[in-house]
Amino acid sequence: MEELPSITVSQREQFLVENDVFGMYSYFDTSDISTQKFMVEIQRDKQLDYLMNGLRQLSPSFSSLDANRPWVCYWIIHSIALLGESLDDELENNTIDFLGRCQGSDGGYGGGPGQLPHLATSYAAVNTLVTLGGDKAFSSINREQMACFLRRMKDTNGGFRMHNMGEIDVRACYTAISIASILNILDDELTRGLGDYILSCQTYEGGIGGEPGSEAHGGYTYCGLATMILISEVDRLNLDSLTNWVVYRQGVEMGFQGRTNKLVDGCYTFWQAAPCVLLQRFFSAQDLVPHGSSHMSQGTDEDHEGHAHDDDPEDSDEDDSDNDSDEDSGNGHQVHTSTYYINRKIQPVFNSLGLQRYVLLCSKDANGGFRDKLRKPRDFYHTCYCLSGLSVAQHAWSKDEDTPPLTRDILGGYANHLEPVHLLHNVVMDRYNEAIEFFHRAA
């Protein structure tokens, strides 16, 4: 008799997750159309209730996040902005005041009032204020002192420290450079040697680890890549192997994993999809890509395919006269043969619709909020990065953030449409534009 192959812990865990996920998918596939419609709906009202409640009364269970309060503000307020909503004046003023009290007298923001300034919480505070928008929020940031704080955190090895006497890693580098870039205080002193440091964290797998010698990891890969783009040294990375690594992180469940042979997790929807889109824009913004690939035709649901056949207005608005082939074939993803090319849009290097399906069916909590995977509790961190990633996936076909996606690119249709984000800072595009204008005038 043949010996049964032994199964590893990872394989068993993977098996259990696949069981849950595919169970959910098959339930979805066998449901009627109205149930399906309901299942993929974002349910804005429930999301907003969950988020607004969270902001009003940072619930008692948040004691452990007490060193991360600007983060909680960012996760919630950015999520609200992604849904196209904003805060009322009172909440907005409270938030600006609260963050003002987190700001240290010699620059940077701590995890709460009186706490030591920290790069990550400074990033969260700045992104929150950028998302709130308006002169009051913008001018509450002490740019000059922030510049001093960033310089103090700069290490001689080119990288940045999280805080005074704190750890040096790629996260610290990204948060520092993202802040400096958005506040328009980026200079040679901050970028000196930084490219070398990030480069030393790219592993032979292609992804980027947290510090030299560490294994490649989704969050750090996003941080490292975004940093290199912001300091104009992205071509020093091995982009081929980076692309190769990141697209292999999307597994059979269609969600992303953070590292090789790890379980899928909703938050990597952003950390891994954003690098995919950045790389794809970098490589092939104007490419003619042969269409009709295998993964595109894995139609997700009847409802969605229905949309694909619609002659929706965005579609015709956008077509240039030289796009006759696309017009002629005119019905969605499946009919193109390899002789047809699209040049209006880019094909994502990952399965965008599959990813959206994972987030909406497995990461979405029925009562609002998002989570890592089925059976896990929701939290604001996952809500923020699931929604951000969903927005990235919806806009993955667009050649830039200013082009609205087609209905067929959004699972669940336009009812689920989220605001586009600036991929390098993860703030909503409009808010970014307003802030950049303000801080360029301030310089």
């Binding site: 990872s10 004691s63 007490d66 060193a67 805080h163 040294e233």
Partner: protein, 679 residues
């Protein structure tokens, strides 16, 4: 922050939790007051302990403790027992915090800080680590900390290697363990530690990883480790010189006409590039590390420059411009032997810190001749005719083209054997449509081709090209990656022998029989094998799928370049051309420049005019500012080129306004889009 287990609160727990939160907040505010008032009493320190037990992420408290420890030690350093008890207490607090949250950055960092004070023991730390790594074998904080401890205590790497075997044995898909194995082995192989000669150890590692790959093809850990092994097999640490211009044994003519010199230069000083091409980026190439023996005038004080797009002092390609005087009329050609010796004195070091340790020398003959100079005609270079085929057997050709790699001394035998074995093995993979299997075979064959003798090369390349074609059809997600690899293989095939290369080589009769390489219509998406093409003066890459000119910067003799009908989408993509000092003719017509107002360039340089380079740019300031602002990416590239002929028609950017802007930036321009600008 992320990944820590969070508790779901049931309603009945809410009240208790709210009470806890009140207590926590009062603790927090007392702590902050102690911190700001620099109170380091025992009570105050205990209070921070309590806080950290509840919230290990309170990084301010970790900092406070560091200050408190330093404060105590500064007063009590003489008493070793007290020092020990203070530091022991810190380790204890870290340990209990980690039990609360094993992913606390602050806690792990604090432990490193205590250890770097020379405290604790390997045994103690490994015990702690084993506990955490058993609970979560993929916790990267723990793995990072493990590497830190091993480094700090000089724990035997052999023992660590055994630990990775143990962890892999437990779980073949634990990539963290595989990764750590690669980190450990890298260092052991580098030092050639006892029992870790690459020739012996790497084949053993192949055996190990086969178990993982053939157990379950879907386990990616094994494949990634295999990829690392292949890198170790192919890549040689010591930098090697892989080609040079002029090549060894060649005879070159130094004459004004021969180098397509700028007619506008009034002086008789002519320059000629010497090029060194290394297999990896190196620094330290200078007149002290490269010695030149010759009677030729002008070779003293050669300045070697890295040819690289970044402001870095390392590059694969180094160039020195040899200036020689041709003022004295000499009707009889004179010949000089030039001997170039590299690496006799140390100083050439790879970016990874390895020395160029195998001295190498090459000799060429320079024939200086004052040719009768016709008045240079301002003719337009056409890419349609005037090309004469070049016979592969021609002596001229053999003289220029030296396709042998210069790295004869390497120990290739075990490498070739290891790769041959892998190829045989992977060809027996049961699933012939396995993408990763095909990719691995393609990579192995490429490695084999790199290390083979010339005669068998062609065979491999056909198979590699077919594999990449299959992959493009099978796996559209990675289409671009395969496409690029396909291009690399194709160019390697073309440059693999004089015969295959000569099919693409021509002499352009309208310009002193310039050497022209035509690779048009080859569906290339990327440029490669440039080290074998340093002699090319005219290059036709039209009707390909190129996005950028990266790689061409090494071709210092290039004077005419045709990139029409490609996929160049911005002038920034032409940046590498700025290094080509002899480039006079450039055709980038029918590309995608300017098609989209918003493109990736805005990510690369959001505000070009805040660029520090800009403030020092006098030329730019004299021009119409609105145009410079609008066409800044064109400006930054074109201002460094001395073009006579430029073709940009068929790009969205090429409107009337742009056409009026170009001659301002490139004053040397005579022909724009086929029209003469001035007489």
């Amino acid at each position: 922050m992320h990944g820590r287990p969070r508790k779901v609160y049931k309603p009945e727990e809410e009240a208790a939790s709210a009470a806890k939160a009140v207590k926590f907040r009062s603790l927090q505010s007392q702590f902050l007051s102690n911190h700001h008032n620099k109170i380091y009493t025992k009570e105050a320190i205990d209070l921070s302990t309590k806080l950290l037990e509840i919230n290990p992420e309170a990084y301010t408290a970790w900092n406070y403790r560091k200050l408190a420890v330093e404060d105590t030690l500064s007063r009590q350093e003489s008493d070793p027992d007290l020092v020990k008890s203070v530091l022991d207490e810190e380790l204890k607090v870290v340990e209990s915090s980690l039990k609360q949250n094993v992913k606390s950055y602050g806690a792990w960092h604090h432990r490193k800080w205590v250890l770097s004070k020379g405290h604790s023991s390997v045994g103690n730390e490994l015990r702690l680590l084993n506990e955490f790594q058993t609970l979560d074998s993929r916790n990267f904080h723990a793995w990072n900390y493990r590497r830190f401890v091993v480094e700090l205590t000089n724990r035997s790497k052999h023992d660590e290697l055994k630990y990775t075997e143990f962890m892999i044995g437990n779980n073949i898909s634990n990539y963290s363990a595989w990764h750590n194995r690669s980190v450990l082995l890298s260092s052991l192989l580098e030092r050639k530690a006892d029992g870790f000669m690459p020739s012996q150890k790497i084949p053993e590692e192949y055996e190990l990883v086969h178990n993982a790959i053939f157990t379950d093809e879907d386990v990616q850990s094994g494949w990634f480790y295999h990829l690392w092994l292949l890198d170790q097999t192919v890549n040689v640490e010591t930098p090697l010189l892989i080609s040079s211009w002029p090549p060894h044994g060649s005879r070159i003519n130094l004459s004004r006409a021969g180098c397509l010199n700028d007619s506008s230069s009034s002086s008789k000083l002519t320059t000629f590039p010497l090029i060194l091409y290394f297999d990896q980026a190196v620094g330290g190439v200078s007149s002290s590390t490269v010695a030149i023996d010759s009677e030729l005038k002008g070779i003293e004080d050669l300045v070697w420059e890295p040819v690289s797009n970044k402001n870095s002092q390392v590059s694969c390609v180094w160039v020195a411009r040899l200036k020689y005087m041709s003022s004295e009329p000499c009707f009889f050609p004179k010949e000089y032997k030039v001997k170039v010796r590299i690496g006799n004195s140390p100083g050439i070091v790879s970016s990874r810190g390895f020395n160029f340790s195998v001295p190498y020398e090459f000799v060429f003959t320079a024939r200086v001749e004052d040719t009768v100079q016709e008045e240079p005609r301002e003719v337009i270079v056409s890419w349609t005719d005037g090309f004469d085929i070049w016979d592969a057997q021609s002596e001229d050709l053999k003289n220029l083209v030296n396709l042998d790699q210069l790295n004869g001394q390497m120990d290739f035998k075990w490498r070739q054997e290891a790769i041959a074995e892998e190829i045989d093995l992977f060809r027996t993979l049961p699933d012939s449509n396995s993408k990763i299997g095909k990719l691995t075979i393609a990579r192995l064959l490429m490695a084999k081709a790199t290390m083979s003798e010339n005669d068998v090369k062609g065979v491999h390349y056909e198979e590699i090209l077919k594999l990449y074609n299959d992959l493009m059809a099978l796996d559209s997600t990675h289409y671009h990656y395969y496409k690029d690899e396909h291009s690399v293989a194709l160019l390697r095939k073309v440059t693999s022998s004089t015969e295959s290369l000569s099919r693409h080589l021509f002499r352009y009769s309208d310009m002193n029989n310039s050497v022209c390489l035509r690779l048009n219509n080859s569906s290339l998406s990327r440029i490669a094998s440039v080290e074998k093409l340093l002699f090319v003066q005219m290059l036709d890459l039209s009707h390909n799928e190129l996005h950028s000119t990266e790689g061409l910067e090494a071709m210092q003799l290039l004077s005419c370049l045709n990139l029409s009908h490609n996929r160049i989408r911005s002038f920034s993509a032409l940046d590498s051309l700025r290094h080509l000092k002899q480039l006079r003719v450039l055709d980038v017509s029918h590309n995608h420049i300017g098609e989209h107002s918003v493109d990736t360039t805005r990510y690369l340089c959001s505000s070009p005019l805040s660029n520090s380079e800009w403030s020092q740019d006098e030329v730019g300031r004299r021009m119409t500012p609105s145009l410079v602002t609008k066409y800044w990416d064109a400006y930054f590239v074109l201002r460094d080129l001395n073009l006579k002929q430029l073709d940009i028609a068929g790009n969205v950017v090429a409107g009337e306004e742009f056409s009026s802007f170009v001659p301002q930036v490139v004053p040397t321009l005579v022909w724009l889009n086929g029209h003469k600008l001035r007489s």
